[in-house]
């Protein structure tokens, strides 16, 4: 074997020969071989499941890409304060919670150390809508 391409071709030739042998099997011979290794119906269903799993995974990937594309577009229109790092947003919410203008019903939620980013974003969104902070996160 003189080079890697030659080696790869030889491996391909072996596999191609095996594939031709499979193509030459009648449906009956094929089924007999599969039966010798186990349950034929189970094998057929496993391939079916495998295909359906690939179809489902493809759908999930498309959905994820679509969501990311949507988020990328909407992120441009989001207030600057919403685009800050989570640690900075948490610090702002805690600071606002100490303000006398902070709505009492939000204070407890704002001081919860276990708030997720979605929780913090929700609080900031409330403050923006109430006009308590501006787009950049300053108290009005």
């Amino acid at each position: 074997m003189s080079d890697s391409k030659d080696a790869r071709q030889k491996l391909d030739r072996l596999v191609d020969a095996l594939i031709r042998d499979v193509d030459a099997l009648s449906d009956e011979e094929l089924t007999e071989e599969v039966a010798a290794d186990g349950d034929v119906e189970k094998a057929i269903n496993q391939v079916k499941d495998l295909v359906e799993s690939a179809i489902a995974e493809s759908g999930r990937r498309r959905l994820t890409r679509a969501r990311r594309a949507y988020e990328a577009v909407t992120a441009k229109d989001r207030p600057k304060v919403m685009q800050l790092p989570l640690s900075r947003k948490k610090a702002l919410v805690t600071k606002f919670a100490d303000s006398s203008r902070f709505p009492e019903k939000l204070t407890l939620a704002a001081r919860n150390a276990d708030n997720t980013e979605a929780d913090v974003d929700g609080l900031l969104q409330d403050l923006l809508e109430l006009g308590i902070v501006d787009d950049e996160g300053n108290l009005r």
């Binding site: 890697s4 594939i19 799993s53 179809i55 990937r61």
Partner: protein, 188 residues
């Protein structure tokens, strides 16, 4: 004038997949095991990947004038070839470097350089296993060498003095042994 479609779109491809006959499915799975040879992948994973990549927006597509099982086999061949490149990088040093015997001599009479190309290393690893599996079965070894060197069936039969029945039986032994030995993830 609407241009003639040359490839199946996603829904058409999915419909064609779901319309595969039971024996189409069994045949594809068997082929996937062989296509995975030396790739480090399991046959089922290879078939799954072939379907998945076709469904990617920018993935390869099934031509409308190619039967789906043929397209999937070609896709698996291409993916396995690419995977061998990745798999080679994960092989420990020395794997596939020490084989000898009729298969290795027929396939690689020259010593491997330190920077042996990936196909040589992967093939050598496969050969190590084939050598062990068929070391005491010269008829099976002759079939493998014949396939790799593209010898005619008559040449292979002459090499070991096989008649048609013995040749067919040796081919089947090789195919079934490779299917069982290399069709799972634990093996190369």
């Amino acid at each position: 004038v609407t241009p003639k479609k040359t490839v199946l779109d996603g829904p058409e491809f999915i419909a064609a997949l779901r319309a595969l006959s039971p024996t189409d499915r069994l045949r594809l799975r068997k082929k996937a095991k062989y296509r995975a040879l030396g790739s480090g992948m399991e046959g089922d994973d290879l078939l799954h990947e072939a379907v998945l990549r076709t469904l990617e927006e920018d993935g390869r597509k099934c031509p409308t004038d190619v039967a789906l099982p043929i397209y999937l086999d070609n896709a698996m061949r291409s993916i396995a070839d690419g995977e061998r490149a990745k798999y080679k990088r994960e092989l420990p040093d020395g794997v596939g470097q020490g084989q000898d015997g009729p298969l290795a001599t027929a396939l690689d009479p020259a010593p491997s350089p330190a920077d042996a190309a990936l196909a040589r290393i992967v093939l050598a690893e496969v050969l190590d296993s084939l050598q062990q599996s068929f070391g005491d079965d010269p008829q099976a070894l002759a079939v493998i060498i014949g396939d790799i060197e593209e010898w005619s069936a008559d040449d292979v039969k002459d090499m070991e003095g096989m008649d048609d029945k013995q040749y067919a039986a040796a081919r089947k032994r090789v195919r079934r042994a490779i299917e069982r030995k290399f069709g799972t993830r634990e093996n190369p």
